[in-house]
């Protein structure tokens, strides 16, 4: 059966089924778009030889909410709550990426305090996001981990601690709408640092248990090691970023390599693994949670005094204007490089002429045709879970 082309021995995603062995008795399995393990509404068609996937074809667009079209119709200050909904597991970082792009376009200075508070929120969000990932990944692996939902129940308990902190600051469990042009909207309440440290202590203590339940669990290792191996070169070419890229042995993290926010002062320890498989991706994310706990501790100690917003109060939504320019700003979200590309034009100075959100999950999913063939159906679920896609930002 011809499943590989001359492209460096890789699986060729563009081979049609008519290029495969016509004698083979293949079964077609529609996987998704409605299935709990698709992490939203993602669909892939799996051509199966027995239980082994021969070809996987992803289909997107089931949550295409026309965010980019909507953003062309809203003014610069109205867009923060819209992009919140893109990556709904880490809304803080969405807001940050968008507002940083607008700040660069409009030459708005962000005060040091706001940069630190943003970094603090981003790192807390990374822990919450990875906790959700760990819980749902355990669900994906199913019965291997104490009925599957055990770890899910545990990690959601800790995730609630972080959501409580955010709720105290912004009034919302998610979709915070707290970033704005030139800074942040909500200041840290009194005694916030004590609550953050208490939550971190609890999470850190429980993290050891999770590590025992997953990374040191022979069943978990058997289900993930050697499954869905993605080599670093291919990952780079596909534009894959974040933990998936680092698990493939590429030492790249925008927080360190192109610092923004307070990362010029806070040093990130980048976790890199060589395996490129689901196990390496899990290991990287657990290490990132630990590093984020350290960073949050440092950030909460180091938040400087001063103004929280460097932009004059906005009275009319149309008062912020840009007539020319093209900017691209990227930040490292829990899923990788989330970029905002904006073009301003004189035709409509209060809104972007074109806004494109470069989402890490879209690129992560583009690895599926390469790494799923050869795996079994249950491994395909594990691979999809290890890519941690959020369909809101894939389809936008």
């Amino acid at each position: 059966m011809q499943t590989q082309s001359a492209r460096r021995g890789r699986v060729d995603p563009h081979l049609s089924m008519r290029d495969y062995d016509p004698e083979a008795d293949l079964m077609l399995l529609h996987f998704g778009p409605q299935h709990p393990s698709t992490h939203g509404v993602f669909r892939m068609d799996l051509h199966l030889d027995g239980e082994v996937v021969v070809k996987a074809t992803p289909y997107l667009g089931y949550l295409h909410r026309a965010v980019e079209k909507l953003c062309e119709r809203l003014t610069y200050v109205q867009q923060t709550p819209v992009v919140d909904k893109n990556d709904y597991v880490a809304p803080m970082t969405n807001e940050q990426a968008l507002n940083m792009a607008f700040e660069k376009l409009l030459n708005v200075e962000v005060p040091r305090r706001a940069r630190w508070v943003r970094t603090l929120f981003a790192e807390l969000q990374r822990i919450a996001s990875h906790l959700l990932w760990l819980g749902t990944f355990a669900l994906d692996l199913g019965g291997a981990l104490g009925g599957g939902s055990t770890l899910f129940i545990h990690t959601f308990r800790e995730r609630e601690l972080i959501l409580d902190l955010f709720e105290e600051v912004t009034g919302a469990r998610f979709h915070y709408n707290t970033h704005t042009l030139g800074g942040n909207r909500h200041d840290l309440p009194a005694g916030f640092d004590v609550k953050v440290k208490a939550a971190l202590a609890e999470i850190e203590a429980r993290l050891d248990g999770y590590e025992t339940m997953t990374l040191h669990n022979s069943i978990f290792v058997a289900r993930t090691r050697g499954v869905g191996v993605l080599d670093g070169e291919l990952a780079l070419e596909l534009g894959i970023t974040g933990p998936i890229l680092r698990a493939s042995g590429v030492d790249h993290d925008l927080r360190r390599d192109a610092p923004y926010g307070a990362y010029d002062e806070l040093k990130v320890r980048v976790a890199v693994e060589q395996g490129g498989d689901c196990y390496a991706r899990a290991k990287v994310r657990v290490a990132e949670m630990r590093d984020s706990i350290r960073l949050v501790r440092e950030a909460i100690e180091g938040v400087p005094e001063g103004p929280l917003c460097g932009f004059k109060p906005i009275r009319l939504v149309g008062q912020v204007k840009a007539t020319a320019g093209q900017v691209y700003v990227a930040i490292e979200t829990p899923r990788g490089e989330l970029g905002t590309f904006v073009i301003a034009s004189p035709d409509n100075p209060t809104a972007p002429h074109r806004l494109k959100i470069r989402s890490p999950s879209l690129h992560a999913l583009s690895a599926i045709p390469y790494i799923v063939p050869g795996a079994t159906v249950s491994d395909a679920v594990a691979i999809l879970g290890s890519l941690d896609p959020i369909m809101g930002e894939v389809d936008r």
Binding site: L28, G61, R157, F174, L238, G239, D257, H353
Partner: protein, 405 residues
């Protein structure tokens, strides 16, 4: 609450409306002394059971789905109400529609709803499922799930807290109880609720909307499911471009602006913008940059400029922006632009960066710019037979898509 059902239905609500029980034999049987009381008691038991074991089918598409998960998880714990989440519609009583439903998803939601055994209920969770929220006037989003399937309880919020969802389930239990007892008053029959349950959100319609666009959309009746075709790579599309390994260039790092000036004939780089490169040199520049260590494709974006008349008259045009990145310490981004005429095809980058595949498909889908040599140029976001390219400036954002929106 007003009693709306006639009293004779209250005696045997479970039998009401079921044609089989209208048969004369049953009528005779039930007229036997005591039997109707027994049937009524059994019905009470059934009603108690059905409202205290509401198994949820999570139609979770987006953000609200995360709160639905949080509601099922440890803090709120829906299990204690007898509500557990089932992954298949055939085992579920309640469909919780949690998230935005798009025109591509709506037919699937309807199919799943039809697979649920009766009696079945639906909870619209969050403002997207209720009304479409701020996406309601956009081409791809349906304005509320109640345009597709009947909804019993609306849980407002963006997203609603897990506690709000729990409250919604309690209200559903009340509703089930009242319906079985024959005391349920639908909101439209309850005069006290008339003013509160009929929000009148004015529909924002583009003044310059082209009515023929919607007509074309209607003409493709099967649009939403046509993309169910498998292995849909179009017949006759170009063979996959041969992948060319690019040998790394060991020469010292050069400034990107100098590189495009010296080697790619760019004379003027406007401030704040990326250099404008000739379309013919697009692939060569990408290959050169890849050799120089720009290993990662960051984005491919096409923007559309509509034709303008009057003082600042300008023809219609497209512009493609593209960027690549070096990895590791001191990561740099190199970005360039191409100016495109309407209908002009851009040479594909798939042979240089495999990641260009989906990026270019997305831009083709949303703006209609074709990529020459792309092995699989299909729509990626919109259904396969969608009419028009949404991110063009002349595409009305609220284009209708009957029957879904």
């Amino acid at each position: 609450m007003a009693v709306t059902d006639p009293p004779e239905r209250r005696a045997l609500p479970v039998l009401a409306g079921a044609p089989a029980f209208d048969a004369p034999l049953y009528r005779t049987l039930l007229s036997a002394p005591g039997l109707s009381v027994l049937a009524g008691a059994l019905d009470e038991l059934l009603a108690w059971g059905s409202r205290n074991a509401l198994w949820v089918f999570p139609m979770a598409t987006s953000c609200c789905g995360i709160e639905l998960m949080a509601a099922a998880a440890s803090r709120v714990d829906l299990d204690r109400m007898g509500t557990i989440v089932r992954a298949t519609p055939r085992q579920a009583d309640v469909m919780v529609v949690a998230g935005t439903i798009t025109v591509k998803m709506a037919p699937r939601v309807k199919a799943l709803w039809e697979q649920m055994p009766e009696p079945r209920w639906c909870i619209a969770m969050g403002s997207c499922a209720i009304s479409g929220d701020f996406y309601r006037n956009l081409y791809s989003v349906i304005p509320g799930i109640d345009t597709v399937i009947p909804v019993d309880v609306y849980v407002p919020g963006c997203p609603p807290n897990p506690e709000a969802l729990m409250h919604g389930l309690l209200r559903l239990q009340e509703k089930i109880k009242a319906t079985r007892a024959g005391t349920f008053a639908a909101p439209e029959l309850n005069p006290a609720l008339l003013t509160t349950t009929r929000p009148s959100i004015a529909r924002v319609v583009d003044a310059d909307r082209d009515p023929t666009q919607s007509d074309q959309q209607t003409a493709s009746a099967d649009h939403a499911t046509a993309s169910d075709k498998t292995d849909a790579r179009p017949e006759g599309s170009p063979e996959p471009a041969a992948y060319e390994a690019v040998a790394p260039d060991a020469s010292p790092a050069r400034d990107f602006a100098d590189l495009v000036r010296d080697e790619f004939g760019v004379t003027d780089i406007p401030a704040g913008m990326a250099p404008l490169v000739e379309t013919a040199k697009h692939v060569a520049l990408a290959r050169r940059l890849r050799a120089l260590g720009y290993k990662q494709l960051v984005y491919v974006v096409v923007s559309h400029y509509a034709a303008k008349t009057g003082a600042r008259a300008a023809p219609e045009r497209f512009e493609l922006a593209c960027a690549v990145r070096t990895v590791g310490e001191g990561s740099r981004v190199a970005a360039w632009r191409l100016a495109l005429e309407p209908g002009e095809a851009v040479p594909t980058l798939v042979g240089v960066y495999a990641g260009a595949d989906w990026q270019e498909r997305e831009q083709y889908d949303l703006t209609g710019v074709r990529f020459a040599g792309h092995p699989d140029l299909r729509r990626i976001m919109m259904p396969e037979d969608w009419v028009g390219h949404p991110l063009r400036k002349d595409y009305a954002a609220d284009t209708a898509c009957p029957p879904w929106r």
